[in-house]
Amino acid sequence: MVTRYFQLPSIYCLNSVTVVYDLKNVVKERLVDGVGFRLQVPSIEIKAQENIALVGHSGCGKSTLLDMLALILHPDKSDHFDIDPVDGKSQQVDKLWHHHRQSRLSQIRKQHIGYVLQNGGLLPYLTVRENIELPRRLLKLADDDSINSIAKVLGIHRQLDKLPGLLSAGERQRAAFARALSHRPSILLADEPTAALDPITTRKIMAVVMELIKGLKITLITASHDWAHVYKMDLRVLKQEAEPVENGRIYQSTFHD
């Protein structure tokens, strides 16, 4: 049903062995409340159409890693940071950051990545429909029926002409998923997308989303601190381990399989 309404163009249908993200020794350091925080990713390889969950407690660096994967945060060090959203067109993200190729990074983000924020991140001055169609407008995609289709699948087709402020938390998250998927990206990143929702609503939304990404052959990377929920969704889990290093001056967080 999903694919019938929301067909992905063949160019974006990645082979399931394509490596979408390839990270080696990626490091990002930040100062949080006066204490050094270091996120370390020794090695992560994410294949096309994989469904990944970054699991760890709050403040362990899940969002930081997602932001780096979304190309909105540059790594401080890396041996290797490649993204291959379209089969065979690998891009060296660390080099793009290093050479200040912001427009290229924007271009990749605009075209291939959808990002769902914890509270939706919908623009309050646009209607739900306008929010959803914004990524499509940027890509000058044809004004077909896909907005109505995806809204129907996510159960928000009656809310399309409302402003986000008039929606419930659950409806806002559905709209956020719709916006993230409207331009048919090959990668969907979600930062604790159901953290503010009750378990029943969470289950309903994630069931629809999982069906959608399966049909659309999208690679999903979601951050969560809810172990039980992640295990129920049958996701590959990247766990986080944290320890104080350098005499406790730095809190180091490491992600691994």
Partner: protein, 403 residues
């Protein structure tokens, strides 16, 4: 192009969505701009009108010699060639410069003062024709009324003298080529070519005027000397300098120097006061707009980060606050213009009549409104660019985490 058109649309949607906040910005801007426009309107209206009326009225630019002097044709010519002098023409002795005029339509003979005139005479500004021979004349309104003549009428002009114990009178038929307006003079004046004025004096002095067939003693061939002149400076600003030069040469003159200096002093002082207030106001406006835009960017950090996350380039994001600032500038200017026009009407309708002024106390030219718009938009854009650069400098990651 897609990003540009989208950012214009989004900035306007956000601006109209937050209409209360936008309205506050617009009111704040017009609250600074409208008083500045009223101040400038008053400065421009009062002083410029006074200066204009001084400039437009040629009598304010006239420099009149006191008593009789001896001014050669060469002296007059030298002054005529000065750049600060618009017009100079000699005058003959007052007693010799009279003529009797008689028309077919009036019974009385009118004794009229003769004044020489020529092209570019400021006293007769707007006249199409000037007397260029003995037989053409321009009459003052008063003289024309008494003679009951109109433009194009022919009248008799006559002169009388006692010559070798005998009373003589000569006649000349002259054509009324124009009639001067009442504002030129209220006296009975005939404006004539300089040659006729000189001929009149020669005849009255008993000398011959061969051109007109008037007999008399032969005149000397020495250069002519005039007892007086009619002189107009090019502008009121030149009057002081010419007066000083003439006085250096021992020529005592009279001019409206004090009145001109008063207006110039008012103009300068009001200009200084206006520019001090305008600069303080403009600086306050720029700082308040800059500060509010700075704060606005902080407030909008989340939305701007979302736009970057979706794929807008940083350079385009800068335009978001800049465009909103332009909307504020244009709408604030529009409101300020409306407020100004209201006060302009109030001042000109109610205050000006009480001060017995027949001119506008407060007014601005169309170009002044566009200058105000241009300056407002430029100030707003400069202030907004700082905010915009700050917006583009915020890491989207930081903006999103602040949500």
């Amino acid at each position: 192009m897609s990003q540009l058109s989208n950012i214009i649309r989004l900035s306007f949607r956000d601006y109209s969505h937050e209409w209360r906040m936008s309205g506050c910005f617009i009111f704040a801007l017009s609250a600074v701009l409208a008083p500045m426009m009223i101040l400038f309107g008053l400065k421009f209206g009062i002083v410029t009108s006074m200066v204009d009326s001084l400039v437009e009225n040629p009598t304010n630019r006239e420099i009149r010699p006191i008593g009789s002097g001896r001014y050669s044709e060469q002296w007059i010519e030298d002054f005529r060639n000065r750049k600060d002098i618009e017009f100079i023409i000699p005058k003959t002795r007052a007693l010799a410069a009279t003529i009797q005029l008689k028309s077919d339509t009036a019974t009385r003979i009118l004794s009229s003062e003769l004044l020489a005139t020529a092209e570019n005479d400021p006293l007769l500004a707007g006249m199409q024709r000037f007397p260029d021979d003995y037989y053409q004349i321009i009459l003052s309104q008063s003289a024309a009324k008494k003679l009951k003549v109109e433009q194009g009428d022919r009248i008799d002009a006559s002169l009388a003298r006692q010559f070798h114990g005998k009373r003589e009178r000569v006649h000349l038929t002259v054509n009324v080529i124009d009639i001067a307006s009442i504002s030129v003079t209220s006296r009975n004046v005939a404006f004539v070519n300089l040659d006729l004025l000189v001929a009149t004096e020669q005849f009255k002095d008993g000398r011959e005027v061969p051109d007109l067939g008037w007999d008399g003693d032969s005149g000397s061939s020495a250069s002519r000397v005039f007892p007086s002149f009619r002189l107009y400076a090019r502008s009121i600003n030149d009057v002081g300098g010419i007066v000083a030069d003439l006085e250096k040469q021992g020529v005592r003159v009279k001019a409206n120097v004090a009145e001109i200096e008063t207006v110039q002093s008012i103009d300068q002082n009001l200009s200084v006061i206006f520019w001090i207030i305008a600069c303080v106001g403009a600086a306050g406006f720029a700082f308040s707009l800059g500060a509010s835009l700075w704060a606005n960017v902080d407030r909008k950090g989340k939305d701007l980060s979302v736009l970057r996350l979706i794929g807008f380039r940083s350079s385009v994001i800068v335009l978001f606050p800049v465009l909103q600032s332009c909307y504020t500038a244009i709408l604030g200017w529009l409101l300020a213009v409306l407020v100004y026009l209201g006060f302009e009407q109030l001042i000109n309708r109610f205050l000006a009549p009480r001060l017995n002024l027949d001119q506008s106390l407060c007014y601005l030219l169309t170009e002044h409104f566009f200058w105000a718009l241009g300056l407002t938009v430029v100030t707003a854009i400069v202030a907004a660019i700082l905010g915009g650069l700050r917006a583009s400098g915020i890491e989207p990651s930081d903006g999103l985490r602040d949500m």
